[in-house]
Symmetry: C2
Subunit: 137 residues, 2 copies
DNA sequence: CAGCATCCAACAAGATACTG
DNA sequence: CAGTATCTTGTTGGATGCTG
């Protein structure tokens, strides 16, 4: 993995990257972030980061996803190059999904965010409770 | 900042954290991620990571956000404890928004993802083009 | 200046039924 | 098994007009 991913830039530079330097319509960072900020995308990437899974296995692994959303999210992830789809011509057919190199490299920074969330969800919940309490006052 | 944020856990453990270990309805990680995965949340956090801004300044800084969404997103960020809102009783009133300590600590992993996106958006665009080309065939 | 209230369009997502 | 197709619903976000 390219270590340059974690070289810090100035905050302003990062912000400019996000806004596309004023070109808001076609901003590369927004474009990429959009693709992984769906309700199920990050979850499926994390599942596949463990090991490859078949369609039905993913369904059982994430019981609250609908078939439609599983199909569509996997399709989008495949289109963006994060996921590889391999069909085995058995009868009935089986399809295996796995992360590509690009998908694995994306998993690294994503994992940082997940871990932050895990460590700080108590603080967030407490902030919400405090905020709501003083709102009612 | 707590360095434990970046201690790697096993991929399976991270996945379990995301799914709430089977308790999908009240999963801490999903809960936190939801709050920052909105269309404007990360963008505003990045803007405020540079320095505090007033309402009107943020509007000019992000010209394609509507007033409604700016108000609402700032409200949500404040409720979750990422943003501090300070009213100066001038006439007319001015309101300054700034990141809290929690907001700043969240900005760090977020920045990693932004930088990954910036470095890899070409690969994603290429993957899309290749995929769409073979889809038409 | 910094909002709030209202209405409306667009899209994301769920439910259900059917197929190679 | 691994999808597709269709319909319906819920949420997000934008436009506009008004206020302390």
């Amino acid at each position: 993995m390219d270590s340059k991913i974690f070289n810090l830039k100035s905050k302003l530079e990062v912000y400019k990257a996000m806004t596309g330097g004023g070109n808001f319509a076609d901003c590369p960072v927004r474009d990429v972030i959009q693709g992984i900020s769906g309700k199920w995308s990050s979850l499926l990437v994390m599942a596949l980061a463990e090991k490859p899974y078949r369609f039905g296995e993913l369904r059982r692994l994430v019981p609250d996803i609908s078939q439609r959303m599983l199909t569509q999210t996997l399709y989008d992830l495949q289109r963006d190059g994060y996921v590889h789809r391999e069909v085995f011509p058995t009868k009935p057919p089986s399809v295996e999904y796995s992360l590509t190199d690009l998908g694995r490299s994306m998993f690294a920074p994503l994992q940082m965010l997940i871990q932050w969330a895990e460590l700080n969800h108590d603080a967030v919940r407490e902030a919400r409770a405090t905020f709501d309490a003083s709102s009612r006052a």
